[in-house]
Amino acid sequence: MLILFEKIGGKVGLISEQDKEYLKTEFSKNIKRKVQLLYFTDQEKESDYTVQTKELLEELVSLNDNLSLVIKNCDDEKSMKSENLTLCPSIKVKSERNGFMNFYGIPAGHEFTSFIEAINDMGGDNLPLSEDIIEDLKQIDKPIDIKVFITHGCPHCPGAVRNAHTFSLVNDNIKSSMVDANYFDKVSRENQVSSVPHIVINDKVNFTGNMPPRIFLDKIKEALK
């Protein structure tokens, strides 16, 4: 695990030169198509949180020519709706590849890993799921909305986010979002989150912990009943 603990002027954490080189190599190896980071933010109410997010995204897209950043205001309700987004700020990782990989809040701490994985997955052809799981996922014919609540200090959370995101690559009916439980504390309370990763499927089924893909899939099936 590579961990970056940079605080520049107590304000912004940027990617170290060493990590930039690593990410450049990884991105050039994995990214085979255009990937857009669509960042919805409230530009009139900027905070350290949203400013840091923007700077992080700008640094990331500078590392590979296939990456681009589009920034929109959350009050652009039409765009938010067309992207199926409900919370602000949010970062959606998009490409021509099927999949709905979204991050409500800043993907910092341990979640930086799942964010990089989402970029690599959207830009590449990787599908880290077994054949039987893929076949089962393909059978889902109703909308599935997965929210994975996380905290930045949680080492177990990126695995749950990755599972949910990769499920969305298999079937357009599946939409997956990471939710920063501390930033969206009201949403967390509404969903009774007191431990992470906490996964909510279609606002109907919820469970806690980074479960193997098969158990996660069983929970999706439970939500479809």
Binding site: M1, L2, I3, L4, F5, E6, K7, V12, G13, I15, D19, Y22, L23, Q52, L56, I106, A108, G109, H110, F112, T113, I116, N126, P128, L129, S130, T151, H152, G153, C154, P155, H156, C157, P158, G159, A181, N182, S188, Q192, V193, S194, S195, V196, H198, T208, G209, N210, P212, P213, R214
Partner: protein, 319 residues
């Protein structure tokens, strides 16, 4: 902003290795460093994130060389860099099945199957549950074993920490950044943490240490509302109002993977000899998962070195 980037490889092209290490904590990654330097092609399988249990620890202060201490995450990062420098491959797949009846040994994850001529089991340990009424009901509903994950949910609340060993006290100090008041409940008549940690909780106005008491239950409606405690010498059960409780009352070995394949002690720890050999030739155990008397980063490091040395000798003798 803190950013943690897990750099391990996603999928390996190779399916056979001379040495396979299950677990990427201090013991497993030290073994990988030593085997790599011996030019043994080595794979490390990791379940959650490289570093093992220490990635949950905010600061490790008793590991030599880091005078001011080092975060568990940062130390884990260094171990990974060090192991990779000498050629170890790290695969982020949980091994769910082992076949040790014949060599090469077979290790299976949910995605892939790999073989290895020798194995080092370094799966570590997990927090032990205390087995009292309400515990199962309120796990993830107020009860947690991971302060780094869940402490922020208890901002301004009362919290009970079970256990006054090093882990309990260290985590209580971390939780005090968020909680209003923390009661550490210890059933012994004294804390078992290092004296330096005791000094710190004594100076922390938010933390109260209650010795000679035991937790006898957890109560609440949908979520935890109180922790019931009792004086070990008798008396009435008393409730402590708390929305959160973190349990650090010892450990259980992560030995389920090998429970019917290797000899274990009565508590589930893998039995080894002084060469860290297990009951199966060619399989070694290192770190918190084996029967040892003291479980620290420093002791796990030593185990990793010994296990690697013995695995190397075994591979040389069985070429």
């Amino acid at each position: 902003m803190d950013l943690s980037l897990n750099r391990q490889s996603k999928k390996s092209e190779k399916k056979h290795f001379s040495a396979g290490i299950i677990g990427s904590g201090p013991a497993g990654l030290t073994a990988a460093i030593y085997l790599g330097r011996s030019k043994i092609d080595t794979v490390v399988f990791e379940k959650i994130a490289p570093g093992g249990y220490i990635i949950n620890v905010e600061k490790i202060e008793n590991y030599p060389g880091f005078v001011e201490g080092i975060s568990g995450q940062e130390l884990g990062k260094l171990y990974v860099q060090h192991a990779k420098r000498f050629g170890a491959e790290i695969i982020d797949e949980e091994i769910t099945k082992l076949e040790l009846d014949k060599t090469p040994f077979i290790t299976e994850s949910s995605n892939e199957s790999y073989t290895a001529d020798s194995l080092i089991i370094a799966c570590g340990s997990s927090s032990r549950k205390i087995g009292v009424p309400g515990e199962e009901e309120f796990i993830h509903k107020g009860i947690s074993f991971c302060a780094a994950c869940d402490a922020p949910f208890f901002e301004g609340e009362n919290v009970v920490v079970v256990g006054a060993g090093n882990s309990g006290v260290q985590e209580a100090l971390y939780i005090s950044k968020f909680a209003k008041h923390i009661t550490i409940v210890e059933f012994l008549d004294h804390p078992t943490c290092e004296p330096i940690l005791l000094d710190r909780i004594n100076k922390n106005d938010k933390i109260e240490l209650l010795t000679s008491h035991t937790v006898v239950g957890f109560k609440g409606d949908k979520f935890l509302e109180s922790v019931e405690i009792k004086d070990v010498s008798g008396g009435e059960i008393k409730p402590i109002k708390a929305k959160g409780s973190f349990i650090y009352a010892g450990e259980v070995p992560n030995s389920d993977l090998v429970k019917d394949k290797l000899e274990l002690d009565k508590n589930g720890y893998i039995l080894t000899d002084k060469h860290l050999k297990t009951s199966v030739k060619g399989v070694f155990a290192a770190g918190n998962v084996r029967d040892t008397t003291f479980r620290q980063v420093a002791t796990a490091i030593g185990d990793g070195a010994v296990a690697a040395h013995e695995a190397y000798k075994y591979l040389e003798e069985n070429k």
